[in-house]
Symmetry: D2
Subunit: 298 residues, 4 copies
């Protein structure tokens, strides 16, 4: 039994734990998954990053790239008789939570606490998160299980505002003949991102996503990470009108990291339901998340 | 036969190719490597990203993280009777080539051309690289082969300015009993990054790294990518005093992407010489590179 | 006589000059203007700088402010018995040409040249402008003359796309009983910025502004600077369909700096037609312009 | 008499005041100063802004400029038969308190309050300062009085760590035959910035600057602003070892804005002891300060 006020997975991996349910994606799981791969085909689950192609949500600034050095800076006639050579490079100005990105466990808090009871005061504006930063959860390798809920529903995309239920997730498992195991990274396809890509004018609110019922089912399955092809994994508006309801259940109570704006269309098109999912977030000291290029291997 | 002026791998994968030697890391190679894994242990090859912990090279600005929203912004007494919840997030200002990063094939040019003859004029300051941007080479899965040259030499780290030769790479293969195969990502350990980590005052110039002789050996091996635990993969000062000599041979002539500041100490400590290397660079439209968190699975 | 190909004021202040017509705003002019002031009232001609309140033109990113250190970072209970004190500060990410801003003479070129024949090659992406950067023209003190063309026309704002003529400028002078003298900074009120402020949905294209006829009249008057309450000083679309027509005439040919998005409503409301105009642009090395807070003293 | 806990100028200009002692620089003062000018010579008091030329203090990031569009982006052969024209522009990434900059009254707090009792809670990381931001104090016109303390002491620069006293300020007044009047902006020359400019390796700690005795003398004089040619106006280490001692006295208690890294060498060389000082800080919504190019007119 847990102490008073403790939630879900608090204390499960020790009082100092900052990695949460990713502890469930063990080397044994990784090895078994790798050895069972079927095609070796590589899928990038990231959207392109640019001001015009990255979905605008909340009021986060768009990502920007600026050239720091251009090839044209170099003078071919300069210097020696050898061929002129040179380099070009860039500056990136990126919100940590724009485009395809991974939430760290410090991204969301409830009352005075982050996941595992880490105090909100462990975060400062100057230093960022001293507990549960993306450095702790930024390296992910797990069995990836795609649940194509849109396909189960026979739709190109779920309706805006549709709250996916546990029953719908189970139905997807059944239709696809896959099971969700402890330590799995579950990739939930709503079809929303394809709607947006096809029509950039698609409003970002409301959106389909999982509700609390589905979140609790995922907790019971002991998953390590939940990804979805939408902006918040969870349904918008929030289930039951509770601010960040699913984020709180999964991130704060259960230590389950969320991966948003995952592009799942190609996996779905190939019916690649089980993959080795590899996510290497940028280990930015103090950051609450990172843009990522998640890779699924079929 | 190639047209006049064509170099190395130009034209080998078609005149429009922007992916270069990564074409050699096929699904078959990936599948075979995954199935042959031995431990499932996960290694992050990235350095932490922060102003003080990211090596300063050339005159690139240090990476910075700023808080956009802090938990302290939220008033627990505000609103309803439900528990107060909220989120925190960040802004990242990052050079594309700082810390552990992957060079795109547009990072370096020779005369009027990038890799495969793509014209330098395909790059503009405003738009960045329209050919060979990191979007093309940012998703990497390959057999990773660690060549621990420092260990072969019986040193904690090679001497600053030491140019690694083909013979030294072959000696590492022999000592470790591994072979380098077509499509492999070769991870070269000089020990330099550990020197730097132990003593941040270590100058960034000169550094040990590969010379042209080793670069040509890697070309002949048909590797897909070369990583090293130093700032430029190649030796500094440049081999033979030729500006960016190895970059030109590998990136421009051969379409072989380079991964710099790869942290290889843990792989080496475990004698994990063969791994599945997965690199998901940020697909920033127009960028010439990206910071990365490369993941090796043992 | 000027050499072949030389334009307007090229060579007038020496072949190395980078300050252009600001040379005409001499200490004598400043002294005379200061001594003739009538009210001492201080007017800021700058718009507030924020993502939502800065006009979006062309495709420049919006300005952003991020907190670097917040007061909440400091713990009042920390340390000694003295009162707790601390500080807060910010990071600013600003386009050099957003909001109320001053163009440097390197902002626009024609063919191979900037103002005074400085070669386009004096600019590099890495270093920015080595000639005619904002460092050269960023300190402005001149007699400021408001020409309220909207009021002359009896309109709250000129029609979108209206090209102001020399005759209209002269008519404003006559109505206001002011003359434009050599070295003056002329502040042209179209009313557009007030339209935008009243209705942020106002499109930024087309806009009223000066045409080539008015630009040439200003050249003949030997003004030192032209400001307007619109996005480009010049009419949009460009006069005669010539790309940046007025910018080329004034900046490139005549070395007359332009100040855009100047907020002139208060000066106009007070009929303050003559002022001491003081503009302190940020002397950013290499920059082609700077956001400014121009100050007019009545 | 003031209410319990109220400090210095709290309440003097109303309980809602955010402008502080700048209220003392009235239009009458401005008019009188302008009419009494002697030369009309224009002085910029700003340092150049660049990574290498802006003093590094505390741990603020250096300012950076990046090119957004380069002239080389434009193809002269493109399009019509008219002359090719185009433009260049930049992105600026600037700490609000780097280089020559003006502190807003929200820059420093004591206990739970900013100047005038505005609560610390009026600041949020997301929005910045909702009270006393630079928008309120960013437009300054005042009689500027240079007190050349270094010259009074017969030194090129005061010793590092020297705390200037009231007596030294009075001695400078006497030597220069000037008086400090209500509403004046006082410009204090220590010589430190010239030391730094001459030798960039000069440590930024300790530094000469004013102590609490001098700060209280300036308060009694009812000055509107205090500038100095050092990093904090106040002496470093802080007077009496009290954190931000002078900042608290002047900014928090008295509502007197501080201007740091003011370049005063030219004013001093000309013995220009009285000027019209004009400072136009960028009115960035929510910001606690701004880089500035202060202009003094002789």
């Amino acid at each position: 039994m847990q102490a008073d006020g403790a939630k879900g997975n608090w204390g499960r991996w020790g009082s100092e734990d900052e990695r949460g349910a990713l502890n469930l994606a063990t080397a044994d799981v990784v090895l078994e998954t790798a050895r069972a791969l079927r095609t070796g085909k590589v899928y990038s689950l990231a959207l392109p990053i640019s001001r015009s192609r990255t979905p605008a949500v909340w009021d986060r600034p768009p990502p920007e790239r600026f050239t720091r050095t251009a090839p044209q800076d170099h003078d071919p006639s300069e210097g020696s008789g050898l061929p002129a050579v040179g380099s070009a490079d860039d500056m990136l100005v990126l919100p940590s939570h724009a485009g395809t990105h991974l939430d760290a466990l410090s991204h969301v808090f409830e009352g005075e606490h982050f996941y595992n009871g880490h105090p909100v005061g462990s975060f400062s504006t100057r230093r960022g998160a001293s507990k549960c930063s993306i450095v702790r959860t930024g390296t992910v390798v797990a069995r990836g299980v795609l649940l194509d809920v849109a396909a189960s529903a026979g739709l190109p995309a779920l309706a805006a505002g549709h709250a996916i239920t546990a029953a719908e997730l189970e139905e997807s498992c059944a239709r696809q003949d896959v099971e969700v195991r402890p330590g799995d990274a579950v990739l939930i396809r709503t079809g929303w991102l394809e709607t947006l890509t096809a029509d950039p004018a698609t409003p970002s609110f409301p959106q389909p996503g999982i509700g609390l019922d589905a979140a609790r089912w995922l907790q019971r399955c002991d998953v390590s990470l939940v990804a979805a092809d939408n902006s918040a994994v969870e349904v918008l508006p929030f289930d039951g009108g509770r601010e960040l309801a699913v984020h709180v259940e999964l991130i704060v109570h259960s230590g389950i990291a969320l991966l948003e704006h995952a592009f799942l269309a190609e996996l779905a098109a190939d019916s690649c339901y089980v993959s080795l999912l590899v996510v290497g977030a940028l280990p930015v000291v103090g950051a609450t998340g990172s843009p990522v290029n998640p890779i699924a291997i079929g």
